[in-house]
Symmetry: C2
Subunit: 583 residues, 2 copies
């Protein structure tokens, strides 16, 4: 392609509403243009990239044996009513009425549609397993669309759905999809992790999210340095450490800490590191007359001072909760906010009207620690379990966020925490939709049997943005090879001043094309710096500069997108040189 | 592909709501399934065909220099309000509100969106001309969706839009698109005609429709046997024949024709062919007080008895009209319905309170003809212009439908009338949208200049149905080579009973695949007749039957989809034989 026939739409201005790098760069590089909030047009350059994502996805899905279909965007409400989602789904579901006043929605996902297809098309166990997929436009009426195509209202998804007679078959296809997704993201050339989206035991996960790693990612994920273990930080487990409490060295004292309430303040004031301070929280599980439990339940929650509570984990143990109000802490429990602790002056466990004391595993190994004295302006120091206070009555559980360096729950290596962007999700649906919609086949015994399902999504347009989040610098985008819109940019210097240069440029262009390489020849009459900054902005991996100077020596200047300096390459070697770079 | 991995979804039943062959066959062959009225899922087999239509379209559009983009389906009302189409467009425009109560529509077309893009992206005349296109899902809320994907509510379109500084440039791109469409439809392998959609003079047409010829087509089109001339029958012109009126032979008489009112009745009663009978109609252009013409205008309209009035043509001459009521004819004009004629008893032109007498060109050459005598039960016979009635006062115009055999208006050959299905449309929009939306560039003189536009559509999903309307028989679909989902079907007979046969089948399958031929190997355990009827139904052009019998002779049975009998082909020659068939 020549820029004269494939005009670039690069712009200098960064849009005011663009908060993240990919959004800014997609606008600046001329990949997309905003039509309305969360609704974008893909310009020719952007569409080339989107199509590459689509094509890699399609090829690998086909290899997996999945069958491509194309389902409608318009979905009748009746099907969503069958599964109850018409009511359950919030305002993100874009709803409309047709001219006959019938309810429709614009599909954000296609479980109902494919299950309806399956219950009509699949009659016998002999037709199972089968996986259908599509690459199709989806809609989600986001309350606050943002981040460009990362969270938009109209976007391209690959969604797939598999149908099975039993769990063994579902697990087999799920494993194939896990591998297919791994192949797809490897082919994209992106650093990614398959993250267990469920907190279940290792191996029993029925859902994985595929995250592209990028500092700007919305999700923090924890992954093992030595195994495939990866989980959302919210869901990554900690394992109970072996009991290994150091022997007490300090004496138990009540120490004045006037006005020092936070872990940081106490740590600084007493010159004690946060790991040696006990963080005590009070949470309340609200009672509800209607449901027969009129009483509020209050819990003490203990964590090491350097650890953070994982509310999802605690929620799974005690149900929905709020942090207790100061009034409850003061008038009901008789403590002072900021000075709460689990121990009484008489070396007993906190006797107040609480339901239970729940401590994180890590609390068990504390010694010579600091905790609140339940009196304003005082902490206990040199506290040791058993010696100063019994452990009986404390429930030890995994209730904290994992941190960098925690041992991996699968016993292999330690956890590293990084940020990720969720671009794929595979999920074992089981009978959720097939039961509600009565999708069944005749089994080998001649009886009707409800089928079970898996579903598998990739945010195709989101991958483009995620790739940019992972690969960019201050000059622009750095595409992985497989997603780059072109592999090579040819930048001729003052081509129009010299027939000889023009002929040489044309020859090099044709030679590269003939070698099957995607080349963008910048034949605009602009100065070299302008070309360079455009090619860096749009992220072409390899740049070849051809000028008068090189005509006599028969060489061109080559520079890789990420490289600091250029190198001379003989024209006669250029095709092989580039081929080696692309290999 | 093997049917075990690419299962067919053929069914015996024809859906009750399917009125036309393509709709029935697309369901029966398992190409589509209905989700809701006018909303269909494309099954794997159907999608293969749809993708071929898309791909051919894309390749030829790219060759033309057009740039592919992808615009959103969701379109904000504000842009449609700028062009006034938000109000003008009827209930076919699928409208909805987002969660913030803002108005959107689901695009049936993208003029507003692309013009909005253009007014932001195009700043200088140097960026012109440029053509953008997309292949994208469109929506039209048809009051009565029918004919399967032929008139559906959600469908795939290729739409393109070109931008120009002047008419010369627009005409150039228009001509390129005319040729591109011709190439596309030729590559589809379909019989088609480019039909002038405007009645304007030859060469000055600013709109062409591309019709696939099929007996079931909704539109009648007239095309020259010897030139490229083609027009919708409603719009095809007749040319004024040379004055060539035979000399009078009969005498003028008032003849009783009791109760004979229609051309057919009079023709039979008087044994006079309809070509020799004058058809006289009375039409009324209603007055309207509001617009300052309180008076109704009445016209006599004369046609040869075998010709039909073309209401569109008459409308262009006198404006909107209705056929006069019997009351008007009797009480106002003093004639009797069924016996009206342009001549008075005194051999004068009809003297009634009429505005004008408009006659079709063909009427001029009538002689010895019959016409109503304006008296119940009587016609004049042996009537001749000039001798029996002056021609002065009659306005001769082209007001009839063309008929088979009429001379082509371009002077080359005669017209043939056939039915067509509109699948493409190219159109010179001029400034319609760019003016309303103020899309302008800076011209060479440094001044702002409004750009002008062309638009170019192909109904991608409709092409699939149109191809079936053109190519089918009682057994199923007959695909043209380029659109067939597979080129060759291999039907092994009782493959599972013989290892030797299975190995041979596998070898032939692999050889054909290796030659780059799209093959469907039917490896189902079903009887031969079942395979044959499925392969005929889905329309695979070439069928290869391999059975035990042929193993010894080293031959297979070949039969083309349209052929009556099979022929033996040596296995070793098969690849070359098929290649020759596909060439």
């Amino acid at each position: 392609m020549r820029t004269s026939q494939f005009p670039l739409s690069t712009v200098k201005e960064t849009p005011a509403d663009a908060e993240i790098a990919s959004h800014k760069l997609m606008i600046r590089a001329g990949l997309i243009r905003k039509l309305a909030a969360g609704i974008y047009t893909w310009l020719p350059l952007g569409l080339r990239i989107l199509r590459k994502v689509e094509q890699i996805t399609r090829e690998e899905m086909n290899k997996s044996g999945a069958l491509e279909v194309l389902m409608p965007a318009l979905q009748p409400a009746e099907l969503w009513q069958e599964t109850g989602r018409w009511e359950k789904y919030g305002p993100e579901l874009a709803r409309m009425k047709d001219r006959h006043d019938r309810d429709f929605c614009l599909g954000p996902t296609h479980e109902e549609i494919i299950t309806d297809l399956a219950r009509h098309e699949l009659k016998s166990y002999k037709q199972l397993p089968v996986t259908y997929y599509q690459i199709q436009t989806k809609f989600r009426d986001e309350i606050r669309p943002r981040f460009g195509v990362m969270r938009s209202r109209e976007f391209v998804m690959k969604d797939a759905y598999s149908f099975h007679l039993d769990q063994t078959s579902l697990q087999q296809t799920y494993d194939v999809m896990y591998q297919t997704y791994t192949n797809i993201f490897n082919r994209f050339g992106l650093k990614f992790r398959a993250v267990m989206a469920d907190s279940g035991a290792i191996g029993g996960a029925v859902s994985h999210e595929f995250h592209v790693l990028a500092d700007s990612g919305e999700d923090a994920i924890a992954f093992s340095t030595e195994s495939e273990y990866a989980a959302n930080v919210e869901k990554a487990e900690t394992i109970r450490p072996a009991l290994n409490r150091p022997a007490p060295e300090k004496t138990f004292e009540k120490t004045a800490t006037p006005g020092k309430k936070t872990i940081a303040e106490v740590s600084e004031f007493l010159s004690v590191s946060p790991e040696k301070i006990l963080k005590t929280l009070v949470v309340t599980h609200k009672g509800n007359e209607l449901f027969g439990n009129p009483k509020d339940f209050h819990y003490l929650v203990l964590l090491r001072g350097d650890h953070e509570l994982n509310e999802i984990k605690l929620n799974k143990i005690i149900g929905a909760f709020d942090f207790a109000t100061d009034t409850v802490i003061e008038t009901h429990l008789g403590c002072r906010p900021g000075y709460i602790g689990p121990i009484t002056e008489g070396h007993k466990l906190f006797p107040g009207p609480i339901t239970a004391i729940i401590a994180d595993f890590a609390v068990e190994n504390l010694s010579d620690f600091v905790c609140g004295a339940n009196e304003a302006g005082f902490h206990y120091t040199g506290v040791n379990w058993e010696r100063d206070c019994p452990l009986n009555g404390i429930e030890f559980r995994d209730i904290r966020q994992v941190v960098d360096g925690d041992p991996s729950p699968d016993g292999k290596g330690t956890l590293t925490i990084a940020r990720g962007i969720e671009v794929g999700h595979i999920f074992q649906l089981g009978g959720k939709y097939s039961e509600a919609m009565q999708a069944a086949v005749v089994n080998e015994a001649g009886k009707n049997q409800t089928i079970i399902m898996g579903c598998y999504g990739i945010g195709v347009s989101r991958v483009v943005a995620a790739a940019i989040e992972q690969g960019h610098d201050e000059r622009g985008i750095i595409w992985p090879k497989e997603l780059a819109p072109f592999q090579v940019a040819i930048c001729p210097m003052n081509m129009y001043k010299s027939d000889r240069l023009r002929d040489t440029v044309e020859q090099i262009y044709q030679d590269l094309l003939a070698a099957g390489i995607e080349v963008l020849l910048d034949d605009r009459k602009v100065r070299a710096g302008f070309m360079f900054s455009d090619m860096e902005l749009i992220g072409i991996p390899h740049r070849v500069v051809i000028g008068d100077r090189g005509l006599d020596s028969g060489s061109v200047e080559y520079q890789g997108r990420g490289e600091a300096a250029s190198q001379d390459v003989a024209m006669r070697d250029l095709v092989d040189f580039i081929k080696a770079k692309l290999a």
